[in-house]
Subunit: 349 residues, 2 copies
DNA sequence: ATTAGCACTCTCGCACCCCGAGTGCTAATA
DNA sequence: TATTAGCACTCGGGGTGCGAGAGTGCTAAT
C-alpha cells in the first residue's frame, strides 16, 4: 500500500474515525464505523483497513483490545483533506451576518487596541471553547502618519504618535532640554513632512543612517528632533493577548490533571508562543500545527491554528486558537480565518 | 469551655495544627503535635484538647481515623492570632532592601499604568505562588491636572488627559463640529484653569449641574468644551489585573480536577471579583476573607487577602492575593501589605 | 476481495482483605 | 482534678483476584 495515494475508501474510513473521535473522545472500533457511517462492508473489512492505517502510522491503539484513535499524522491527513475539500466547496455555511456585524463592532474599538484585541481573543475562545490568542500589529511595521509633541511640566514632552491604522500611542519623554512649544511644533512639522508614510522600522533605519553620516549634527533643532523621535518610537509593546483558559479546563481532553499542567505551562511561557507567532506572521492563510509538528516543546500535545491579518496587502499581525490535538479543526479553522478577515477589514478602512 | 477565651495551651495547639497543615497538607494527628511542638504533655492530652477544638468547630476530621484539619473558623482564629501577634512584634524580618528597590522600579513605570500593574500582579503571584490581583486607580477618583486638545484629521479631536498621579490617558473624540485648533486651545485653557485640582468625579458632577442649570448654553465655546469634556472623561477602564493562574495549578491543593475548575470559574467571573474589590476599596489595612466568609459564591473554598493603596491619604486602589484556604497567610499578608505600600509610595511622589 | 466465526487479549469495575494510622474511652496515676 | 497509659475500634488505601465486555487478529469459507 502506497502511503501517498490512499484508496478512496481507506481515506473515508480514516476520516470517519477522526471525526468520530473528535466528536466523542473514545477509541472507535470497527463495528461502530461500519454501523454509523454506511460503507457497504462489514466490521471485519473495516478492521483490515484500520490495521493498514495503523501500519501507516495514521491510527493507533491505546491497548490491544481497544478501538483506534488518530495519531498526529492521522489528524494531519484529516486536516489536509478538510482544507482541500473546503477549497472545492468554498464555505457553504458561512455566517455572513455575524462576521459583518462583528467587523463593525471592531471598527468602533479601533482607538483602543488592547480593548479590541481582548475582545478578539474573548470571541475566539468563547465561540470555540479553546484558547484564543492574538498578536496585535507590530508597531515597527505600522506606518507613521503623524506625530505631535506637547510641552509638559517644564522639561517633559508628551509625544503622541498616530499611525495609519488610526492607532494612537503616547509616551512621556524626559527631554532634558529646554525647548519651547514653538520649537516642538517645528520639530513635529519636520518629522511629519519628512517621514509621513514610512513604517516605524524604516524611520528607525533612516535615523541611524543619518546619525552615522553626520557625526556632528549641524542643526541643533534636528538633533533634538532625532533624539525625541528615537525615544518616541521605541515601543516595546510586544504584547500577546490570551484568553479562554478558564473554559478549556472543562474539555474532556483535560480531565487529566497533568494535561492541565501542560497547557498551563505552555501558556505561562508566553515568550515562546510569541516567538512562534512572530515566525508565523509572514505566512499566508490559515496554518495548522498538530501536536508533535509543533516547534515548541510545551505545545507538543496541543494543536494551534493560526492566521495572519492584514492592512491592505501587508500582514501586520496574527490570531490563533490553541486546543487539544483532538480539536474541532473545522470549527477552529473557520473561526480563525474569519476573525482574521474581520480584523483585516477593520484596518483596511 | 468558653469559645471566646480559649486556654493558652488550647490556642497554641490550634496554632500548631494550622501551621503544620499549612506546611504540609495532611491531617495532623495528636502524636505528631506532641512530638514536633514541645508541649509538656502526651498525645492523649492533645487528643482531648483537639476533641474540644473540634466541638468548637475550629478543627475537623476528614474521617474517623484521620488526624485533624482546620475549618474556615479555625483558619480565622489562626489569622486573628497572627495579626495581633504581628502588631506586637512589628514585623521583625522585613526585607527593606527589596521593597525600597521595588518602589524605585515601580516609579519608573508610572507612565504606563497597565505595565506597572502587570508587574505588580506578576510579582505578587510569583513570590507567593498564589494568584495576584490588582485594581488600578479608578479614573473617577484621580485628580485632573491638565488636558490638551489637538485637532486631528479635520473633524476629530485628540484629548490628552494628565492626572495628578502622572498618568496619561488619551482618546479620540469625534467632535462633529468644525472647531479650529485655536478654539480648542481656548477650550483646553478654560478647562485647565476652571477644573484643575478637582477629581474626575467632581468635574463630572459640576458639568451635570451646569448643564441642568443653564438649559440654553449662552456661550457656544463653553458648550463645546463641556461636550468634549464629557467625552474625554468617560473612561470605562474598569480593568482588573490578574496573574499567576498557571503556577497555582501546581499547588497540592489543586491536585483535584474539580478544584481547578472551581478556581478557573472564579477567575473567569472577573466582574464578581471586581465588584468585591471595589467594595473593599474603602477598607483600611490588610483584609483577609477565608473560604465561606467570602461573599462570592465562586470563592467559597478559596481565601483572599487584600490591601488598599493610597495617594497621600486617599485610597485609590486595591491589590490582592487569592489562594486556597490552606494558604500561607503569614506570607500572603506580608506580600500584599508591602506591595501595597510600595504602590502608595510610588503615587505619593 | 470480502465476510463470518472464533479464540484471544486487555481494561474496567467490583469485592475482598489486610495493614497502619489515629482515634475515643476507660482506668490508673500524680 | 488534670494527665496519662493502654487498648479496642474504625476507617481509608493498596494489593489481589475474578468476571464481564469490548474489540481485535486470524482463519476458513464465500
Amino acid at each position: 500500500m502506497n502511503r501517498k495515494t490512499l484508496d478512496l475508501r481507506t481515506k473515508q474510513i480514516l476520516f470517519a474515525v477522526v471525526q468520530s473521535y473528535i466528536g466523542n473522545p473514545e477509541p472507535v472500533g470497527s463495528r461502530f464505523v461500519s454501523r454509523k457511517y454506511e460503507f457497504g462492508c462489514s466490521p471485519a473489512t473495516i478492521r483490515n483497513v484500520m490495521a493498514d492505517l495503523e501500519e501507516l502510522g495514521l491510527l493507533a491503539q491505546p491497548h490491544t483490545s481497544a478501538g483506534r484513535i488518530p495519531t498526529d499524522k492521522g489528524y494531519r491527513m484529516y486536516v489536509d483533506m478538510l482544507q482541500s475539500e473546503e477549497a472545492a466547496h468554498n464555505n457553504p455555511d458561512f455566517d455572513k451576518d455575524f462576521f459583518s456585524s462583528y467587523t463593525s463592532k471592531l471598527e468602533t474599538m479601533k482607538n483602543d487596541l488592547s480593548g479590541m484585541f481582548s475582545e478578539v481573543t474573548n470571541t475566539l475562545s468563547s465561540m470555540s471553547s479553546y484558547i484564543g490568542l492574538a498578536l496585535p500589529p507590530k508597531p515597527d511595521r505600522t506606518t507613521f502618519n503623524r506625530i505631535d509633541l506637547i510641552k509638559y511640566r517644564g522639561d517633559h514632552i508628551v509625544a503622541i504618535l498616530v499611525t495609519d491604522e488610526g492607532v494612537i500611542k503616547n509616551r512621556i519623554i524626559g527631554a532634558g532640554s529646554n525647548l519651547e512649544q514653538k520649537d516642538l511644533n517645528r520639530i513635529a512639522d519636520y518629522l511629519n513632512t519628512e517621514y509621513g508614510g514610512y513604517t516605524i522600522d524604516e524611520i528607525r533605519d533612516i535615523l541611524i543612517y543619518r546619525i552615522k553620516k553626520e557625526k556632528v549634527l549641524w542643526d541643533n533643532l534636528i538633533s533634538s528632533a532625532i533624539k525625541i523621535c528615537e525615544q518616541a518610537l521605541s515601543f516595546s509593546d510586544e504584547d500577546l493577548f490570551v484568553s479562554g483558559f478558564y473554559d478549556v479546563v472543562n474539555l474532556p481532553d483535560f480531565s487529566d490533571i497533568s494535561r492541565i499542567k501542560d497547557i498551563a505551562r505552555a501558556i505561562k511561557e508566553k515568550h515562546l508562543i510569541l516567538k512562534l507567532m512572530n515566525e508565523l506572521s509572514n505566512t499566508e492563510g490559515v496554518q495548522v500545527m498538530i501536536g508533535s509538528e509543533n516547534p515548541i516543546e510545551e505545545l507538543r500535545n496541543l494543536s494551534i491554528v493560526t492566521s495572519t491579518y492584514k492592512e491592505g496587502d501587508r500582514k501586520i499581525g496574527v490570531v490563533a486558537l490553541i486546543g487539544p490535538t483532538r480539536m474541532n479543526y473545522t470549527g477552529a479553522i473557520y473561526m480563525v480565518e474569519n476573525i482574521a478577515r474581520c480584523i483585516s477589514m477593520t484596518f483596511g478602512r
